[in-house]
Symmetry: C2
Subunit: 265 residues, 2 copies
């Protein structure tokens, strides 16, 4: 199954566009997990068990594992999801970007070492930096386009030949990078009008949308501007808002239902 | 000592602007290293022992360790350099770029987990994605500007408000990001005229220059267009051209001497 097919199936099965970001920070973990020798893995298992019928994807952020010397727990988390919920795609959030020979090593890391279904990548280095990822035809390649953070506009909003840089990225994604039909884009929930512009450039492409919850993005506006032509089309990520909630299952359910209601309007 | 001070000292001490890229690919290692249980570490020790009086920096490319499940050998390599040659800066080539809270984890990875002196970062996500790195005032933050690969121009050469995107990055680096005097730029050897343009924007800033050797960059042109106002100013990386040479010491010496001759012209 390709990444597009996997996403289409899980959107429908769970009737959900919620993605849970598995970004565990040791200092923020509930007390009971901190005592474990594998605190991140245990925490992630708990989150996955609580939310697997409410989500369309899981997105571990590699930095949390790399920064806390816990690559093995990242690998074990992905293996746990694959074993128990093979229908749920795992997006490894790494935002890689490097020259071809190096990018090939990063693709190997994401898809072979960790077995992720999709990976986030940075477009700044252009086509040959993306190709080693794109060539894994069954895997998803999710390219940064308009990111959710305040500084994102430093470059992304520069006007290039009459339109902002992020629109060029969307056009390149549509016209040049999607030769295997496995490309998606990252567009922050914090800029719904810009999300709408990119949707008009790429009517059917899946978008990974960070920035709801802690970063302040508005779900109703995301749906209004970002839903795909045929419905669904979005992978709306929440990390802190779900994983540190008193009841993560409830938080995931509430976000799923809020998205459903917004989509129905 | 700051990264700038460390670089200035080693440029002078070794009279060298050569950086050796420690990018070991298991399939290309000399036979004698492949039998080891720590092939990358052993190979790197051999390279460091052979070249430590000929270089101004070492640059391990994280992808090679991540893709070959050898993070521990990356850590041990950096520890070996720190212990035996504390005067030689280690640049961890990771090209990170992510939102602030995540970037903070990546900064921790580079500077605390691995103890690198400098790190490469991607500018696409803007100022708040760079800040957690920049705030380590003694560490170097090397921002991608005009990269050496053929696809680099996809975005970097787009004309934004009358000049190419990479010139905007150079100006942001000079005017906005260098508040701790720890910023450097990546400019590929394969585009010497563009290197010259960036040098005119940032006359004194250190540049990391990949792309000589296997990628075809011309050393004489790099020196002609890229040397800093006061001499030196460049960290000229060679990976494959040195590490897989029959005699890496000789290859490093020849590159150092070629750079010296070009600088003297």
């Amino acid at each position: 199954m390709t990444f597009y097919e996997k996403l289409a199936a899980i959107w429908k099965k769970n009737d959900s566009m919620v993605c849970v970001g598995l970004d565990p920070d040791f200092n923020k973990l509930p007390e009971r997990f901190r005592k474990s020798s594998t605190p991140f893995l245990d925490f992630n298992k708990f989150l996955v068990d609580a939310t697997s019928d409410l989500v369309c994807a899981y997105k571990p952020q590699a930095a949390y594992y790399a920064g806390q010397n816990a690559d093995d727990q990242l690998a074990a988390t992905i293996a746990y999801i694959k074993e128990n919920h093979p229908e749920i795609p795992v997006i490894l959030d790494v935002k890689r970007g490097d020259i071809g020979s190096t990018a090939a090593m990063y693709a190997r890391e994401a898809f072979e070492r960790y077995g992720a279904d999709a990976v986030t990548v940075n477009p700044y280095m252009g086509s040959d930096a993306l190709k080693p990822f794109l060539d894994y035809a069954d895997k998803g390649v999710i390219i940064l386009c308009r990111t959710s953070n305040p500084g994102g506009g430093d470059l992304q909003n520069l006007m290039c030949d009459g339109r902002p840089l992020y629109e060029h990225v969307a056009e390149l994604a549509r016209d040049k990078y999607n030769y295997n039909r496995n490309v998606a884009l990252v567009i922050g929930a914090t800029y719904p009008e810009e999300l709408g512009k990119v949707r008009s450039i790429c009517p059917d492409m899946p978008f990974l949308v960070p920035g709801v919850g802690a970063q302040g993005g508005d779900v109703a506006k995301v749906l209004e501007h970002g839903a795909a032509a045929g419905g669904y089309g979005l992978v709306i990520n929440s990390s802190r808002g779900i994983i540190y909630a008193a009841d993560p299952e409830l938080a995931a359910r509430e976000l799923r239902d809020l998205i459903r209601r917004s989509a129905a309007r």
